[in-house]
């Protein structure tokens, strides 16, 4: 049954993708026929699998939607926004039905929606009664005439895909190639017949002799001289009818394997254990190599190194298997933005890039809600109303940018709007009203921290899009749990950008092992920008912050030992790990740098261990837990730590 849901999901994904394309055709003359075909095919497949799963309600709805799509392809009707809504409505309802089915609940009612779609099919089906007629769009006739003037013969190729042909590797692409070999393709289009059969027609300008007709037939192509649409349609020869089968028009490529994620998790776990064992092997072989003859010691080290390399390759391979493109979740967002734009009366353009960026399947699943929330926030809080934008001399159409990219071992996702920027006054005001002491102009890190507090909202009334005050806290939580970080950038009058930086994969990461206050900690290397050292004398007190000179400015420092209430070793020099960039850079002061290791990340979810600066734990081969640091949490708890100290100071003063 899980397969059924997975398959439904795939088709829904495909439909959403096609709908995005289709949206651009609203109110234009005729929607793009390839897109319609994609949609048609998906609804058709869905209808089939719904039928098999006994989901009659869904089957009926998919069938009706299919009819509607067919009526769209048959005619040169103007495709209206209402028509688009009917399609998105049907898709949403189908998804609801599947979800209800999964949860064992009764399906939602579809009768009103069915009537709605039926109304859109009302136009006469004249075109459908002439199944073999040509329906090339305008402009083709002129090209045909021009080719004829040049003495070329115009051929009409009709390709009919079938299971048998596809097994021989003959598909629409091979048919197109064949047609191209004949001459210039003047027109090509898919064609949907009554009954749902899909054909492809090509109009080709070529030589008078097209070659052996039998060869064309073998390719599944019926070749005929082209006849202008007004002429009576030529009848097709009988053999093509034989090839007709109940098989779907497209067969999914058979070299794709669908794997349950838990099986991959299990492999990853074994992989993680191997990484730990190899680390132990290395430790022990380093220790005993002094007692071995040089040659033996060297070959032991070589084997160990080779083992390590292969293990890393294996890890990379395993990791790649788990990667899926982030487009999976980006696809949903245009609909959200569309709905919200309509509700709020704002004009919004959504610019999406980097959909092909790959990220761990586990992370993608967990990213859905945070991204949805950030986009909603951008629409509801970030963007001004139409009037406000015009008054501010900005383009009435607002832009929300969604951008994904891979940088090293991290995936970076940006959600940006070109709205008014964060309302610093409102945030500070609301923070003070709830008893939090803040400066008049908090920096971006502080602002982010404030809006991420549970229950924080600058809205008085909760509306649908945003304003319940749980959102940012949840976003922050999720991102921290995934070992990632959020960076906020706000420019008054220009907009807000949230940058999410996440590890490519969760299970295994490179980390720096550091010691502080007699305890070992692991710091994910992807978060560390730079490692530098500091002598105690270089550390200065600036107001209540400890800072050290760094590049052209100063770097605020967080002493790990004192933050954790441990006693730091006294040393002549401290390693400083720089996390964050630019103005938000912070230096983490440790006692010693113990080395770099590949670690297996175990998440720490128990409520008893909800400590802000800890992202998880790992084991380095000796069975002892080593805590993994979380940079966002470190910065936050350092701030709270300082606040507490300040309050104490005030009491004494």
């Amino acid at each position: 049954m899980d397969d059924f849901y997975a398959e439904c999901d795939e088709h829904f994904g495909e439909i959403r993708g096609a709908l995005i394309h289709l949206e651009s055709a609203i109110d234009q003359r005729v929607p793009d026929s390839t897109t319609l075909l994609r949609l048609f095919r998906s609804f058709h497949s869905l209808k089939g699998i719904f039928g098999m799963a006994g989901l009659q309600v869904a089957e009926t709805l998919a069938h009706r939607t299919e009819d509607y799509l067919r009526s769209l392809t048959g005619h040169q009707t103007v495709f209206s926004g209402d028509g688009f809504d009917a399609l998105t409505g049907a898709t949403e309802r189908l998804e609801q039905i599947v979800v209800a089915h999964r949860q064992g609940q009764p399906p939602p009612d579809i009768s009103a929606l069915l009537d709605e779609i039926q109304k859109r099919i009302e136009s006469p089906r004249a075109g459908a009664s002439a199944p073999n007629g040509l329906s090339p769009s305008n402009g083709v006739q002129e090209r045909v005439q021009e080719a004829q003037r040049h003495g070329l013969t115009i051929w009409h190729c009709l390709f009919e895909p079938s299971q048998a042909l596809s097994e021989q590797g003959k598909n629409v692409n091979s048919a197109r190639a064949r047609a191209e070999a004949l001459g210039e393709i003047l027109h090509s289009a898919p064609k949907i017949e009554t009954g749902g059969k899909i054909l492809f027609e090509f109009v080709v300008a070529g030589p008078a002799d097209p070659g052996d007709a039998a060869e064309w037939k073998q390719e599944g192509i019926a070749l005929q001289p082209y006849v202008a649409p007004l002429a009576p349609p030529p009848t097709r020869s009988a053999p093509q009818r034989v090839a007709e089968s109940a098989a779907p028009a497209f067969v999914a490529p058979s070299h794709i394997v669908r794997v349950d994620l838990t099986r991959l998790d299990e492999l990853m776990r074994i992989m993680g254990d191997m990484v730990v064992h190899r680390a132990r092997l290395e430790e022990i072989s380093t220790r005993i190599s002094t007692h071995l003859p040089t040659a033996e010691a060297r070959s032991l080290q070589e084997i160990n190194a080779a083992f390590g390399r292969e293990l890393r390759n294996l890890r990379d391979g395993l990791m790649r298997v788990r990667l899926v493109s982030i487009g999976e979740i980006f696809q949903r967002l245009p609909f959200v933005v569309r709905d919200l734009a309509r509700e709020t009366g704002k004009k919004i353009r959504l610019a999406v890039s980097g959909q092909e960026t790959e990220i761990d399947k586990y992370l993608v699943e967990r990213l859905k809600d945070p991204l949805l929330h950030l986009v909603r926030n951008a629409v509801c809080h970030g963007l001004e109303t139409l009037e406000e934008r015009i008054a501010a001399g900005k383009s009435p159409e607002a832009t929300i940018t969604l951008r994904a990219s891979t940088i090293g071992e991290s995936v970076v996702i940006e959600v940006a709007d070109d709205g008014r920027g964060m309302d610093e006054r409102a945030i500070v005001g609301r923070a003070r009203a709830s008893g939090i002491s803040v400066t008049d102009h908090p920096d971006a890190i502080h602002l982010l921290e404030l809006i991420s507090r549970p229950g924080f909202s600058t809205r008085d009334e909760a509306d649908r899009g945003a304003g319940r005050g749980v959102g940012m806290a949840a976003v922050m939580n999720t991102v921290n749990e995934m070992g990632g970080e959020i960076i906020l950038r706000t420019d008054p009058g220009k907009g807000v950008t949230f940058t999410l930086r996440l590890p490519l994969t969760l299970a295994i990461a490179d980390a720096l092992i550091i010691a502080a206050g007699g305890q070992r900690f692991a710091m994910p290397q992807s978060l560390v920008q730079e490692i530098t050292t500091a002598e105690p004398a270089a550390i200065k007190q600036l107001e209540r912050n400890e800072v050290m000179p760094w590049r052209n400015g100063v770097l605020p420092l967080i002493r790990l030992a004192s933050l954790f209430g441990l006693t730091a070793e006294s040393r002549r020099e401290f390693p400083v790990l720089v996390i964050g960039t630019g103005l938000s850079a912070v230096g983490i002061v440790a006692d010693r740098l113990l080395g770099q290791r590949e670690i297996v990340v175990r998440s720490v979810n128990d409520p008893l261990l909800k400590v802000p600066a800890i992202a998880g734990a790992t084991e380095l081969g000796d069975g002892r837990a080593v805590l993994i640091l979380d940079s966002n949490g470190l910065i936050q708890s350092a701030r709270q730590h300082k606040d507490r100290r300040e309050m104490k100071g005030a009491n004494y003063g």
Partner: protein
């Protein structure tokens, strides 16, 4: 509370500050000797830290501190009882644990009214095994992240139930 006690359930009995306690054996995954516990900075005072147990990170709750007894150095007889409640896996540090027993439902009394307040919520019942008294714990209450629960002094609970 009654539904947690069946006809004759089996319990793991352990010792803490000279008193016998019992936890339903169905909640117990396994027991371990206490080796290294990694302290977790800024965690609740009664959480000694984390341990790796069978590939998972498990918080180690010091039951002595949880119940308001003074902390004791761990000895050879100290044990970590790993319990699983729903999705959570938590280790309980106890002074000693060596007994597995079936306890008949009719030997169990509900906790006395006077201790059913804050401290009573984690007490599922009191069993009398001959002349021994065993306090049966409600594990999910013990491992919730509340503040330190007021411990019923064992003397008092004994005095009140006998």
């Amino acid at each position: 509370m009654a539904e947690t006690l069946r006809e004759a359930d089996s319990y793991i009995l352990f010792e803490l500050a000279g008193t016998a306690y019992g936890v339903p054996s169905r909640d117990v995954q396994h027991m371990e000797m206490i080796e290294h516990i990694t302290p977790v900075p800024n965690a609740s005072p009664h959480v000694d830290g984390v341990v790796f147990s069978r590939g998972e990170v498990v918080p180690a709750v010091n039951l002595r501190l949880r119940f308001g007894f003074p902390k004791a150095e761990s000895t050879l007889s100290s044990r970590l009882i790993i319990v699983r409640i729903g999705p959570r896996k938590v280790g309980l540090i106890v002074d000693a644990a060596r007994e597995f027993r079936r306890i008949a439902a009719d030997t169990i009394q509900p906790p006395h009214e006077s201790i059913t307040g804050l401290s009573g919520s984690y007490l599922a019942g009191i069993a009398k095994l001959g002349d021994r008294v065993v306090l049966l714990l409600n594990i999910s209450e013990v491992i919730n992240n509340g503040n330190e629960i007021l411990s019923p002094a064992p003397e008092r609970s004994l005095a009140e139930t006998t």
